[in-house]
């Protein structure tokens, strides 16, 4: 048995076996989240793709790479979306440098 096996995404519904009411609620909510709304399905798929990279979920990356292509995005747009995720992750690391500088100032002469 290994982590992140390719076929595991299709087994996602098995998560409902021991808590079906929670799984039903989750999948119903999930479906509504990705329905066409104030944001289009295409825009939501691009957000999902970016978040998938930020949380480094291989299942989500597989699913939303296909999801983005099937809602009409191209690789240029998808690559820009994940740069947004990377920029926020990188920025969030860097902005903590302010805390570092404040702490250093507090303890330094």
């Amino acid at each position: 048995m290994t982590y992140y096996e390719h076929g595991d995404l299709a087994r996602f519904p098995e998560i409902g076996k021991d808590a079906p009411h929670l799984a039903e609620a989750f999948f119903a909510w999930y479906g509504k989240v990705f329905a066409e709304g104030a944001l289009t399905k295409r825009e939501k798929s691009l957000i999902a793709l970016a978040v998938a990279h930020a949380v480094q979920c291989p299942y989500c990356i597989d699913a939303y790479t296909t999801g983005c292509l099937e809602t009409g995005s191209n690789l240029e747009e998808m690559t820009e979306a994940l740069h947004v995720a990377a920029a926020i992750k990188g920025g969030s690391a860097l902005v903590h440098g302010v805390q570092m500088r404040k702490k250093a100032a507090q303890v330094s002469m």
Partner: protein, 358 residues
């Protein structure tokens, strides 16, 4: 055999070197898959087996000669296909059937149909019959060939509806599917069509764009993608068109071989099966189309033609032996490739067959 524009070979990429499967071998590949059969999907949805309704579209595949060698092509068309092209007696038989059956639409496909030496004569004569709509399925780059400089004006003068292939509004995806430099040449083809009035309001000259996914995934929702294509082509390139239609890639010939090379056939057909949409069945093109092969043989659709699944009635299997009373209400020949037409929003030569993918 007529090879009107041998120079076509110089503007297209070389034919790919993948293995070529016979129609019989392709059907065998589809038959061994684990996805439920097309018939099983219909039965599970409580739908009857498919039968043909009244003839609406006489679709004439004039041959496999093309100046492009697209990676998704279900026809296996290309510059190398110099033999399999329709001769005039077969065109003449198509005219006779059009005269007798009065289909509202005559739809010319290929290959690049314009490269058949008899294309213009046939268009002229079929228009003279009073057929309401004549379609030319155009790859756009053919419009730029030296021997075709007057093609746009010919099409416009005859009021031909141009259905032009453009998978994406970017070069990377378009060229990956259709060959290096095809995107830029396609834009030039579209500009020439626009300049002749195609796609422009009030001219009556319809310019439909047809988009196939540039890979092994389903097409986007048609209405949303049309809006994006319209905005991007207008803003970036000053190009206008009438409508966009989406067509699912069919696991036949070159696209089947692409899937086999990547060991992805099982997954792709499984995805088509999972996306089976009963609401897409009613609008399937096989129900109102008769497809004619370059040699005059008859099929329920262009996909069945490439798999050599001839129409069911044995006494009416060619355009020369066409008999409406035998072909009307004929059972449609089906196999697993039909799942491509019922996946998601549905797929046909006229685009989506359902308002949504449920």
């Amino acid at each position: 055999m007529d090879v009107p524009f041998p120079s076509a070979a110089r503007v297209a990429p070389p034919a790919p070197r993948h293995r070529r499967l016979s129609p019989e071998a392709q059907l065998a590949e589809l038959a061994r898959l684990s996805a439920p059969t097309f018939q099983a999907h219909l039965a599970r949805a409580g739908l009857p087996a498919l039968t043909a309704g009244p003839l609406r579209v006489l679709q004439v595949n004039v041959g496999k000669l093309c100046n492009q060698t697209c990676r998704h092509c279900h026809v296996d068309a290309g510059p190398h296909q110099v033999e399999a092209n329709m001769a005039w007696p077969t065109f003449a038989a198509c005219l006779e059937v059009a005269r007798a059956a009065r289909p509202p639409v005559v739809d010319l496909t290929g290959g690049a149909p314009e490269l058949n030496a008899h294309f213009r004569r046939f268009v002229h004569e079929v228009k003279a019959l009073g057929v309401r709509e004549v379609i030319d399925r155009c790859n756009l780059t053919v419009l730029l060939l030296p021997g075709q400089r007057d093609l746009v004006s010919f099409l416009a003068e005859h009021g031909v509806h141009v259905v032009a292939s453009l998978p994406a509004v970017n070069a990377a995806q378009t060229d990956a599917q259709r060959g290096d430099g095809v995107f830029e040449r396609s834009l030039e083809g579209l500009r020439r069509l626009n300049a002749a009035g195609y796609g422009q309001p009030g001219t009556g000259l319809e310019l439909t764009l047809m988009s196939n996914p540039s890979g092994a995934f389903l097409p986007p929702p048609q209405a949303a993608q049309e809006a994006r294509f319209k905005a991007l082509l207008r803003e970036r390139h000053g190009i206008v068109f009438t409508r966009l239609v989406e067509l699912t890639n069919m696991p036949i010939h070159r696209f089947l071989e692409f899937l086999l090379e990547r060991d992805d056939l099982e997954r792709y057909v499984g995805a088509l099966s999972q996306a089976f949409n009963p609401a897409a069945v009613g609008g399937l093109m096989c129900r109102d189309t008769l497809s004619v092969g370059w040699d005059g043989r008859l099929y329920d659709c262009d996909f069945n033609q490439m798999l050599e699944l001839e129409v069911a009635p044995a006494e009416a299997r060619t355009i020369f032996t066409w008999r409406d009373e035998l072909l009307a209400e004929r059972p449609i020949r089906v196999a697993r490739h039909c799942l491509g037409c019922t996946a998601g929003q549905g797929s046909s030569c006229a685009g989506a067959t359902s308002a949504s993918s449920v």
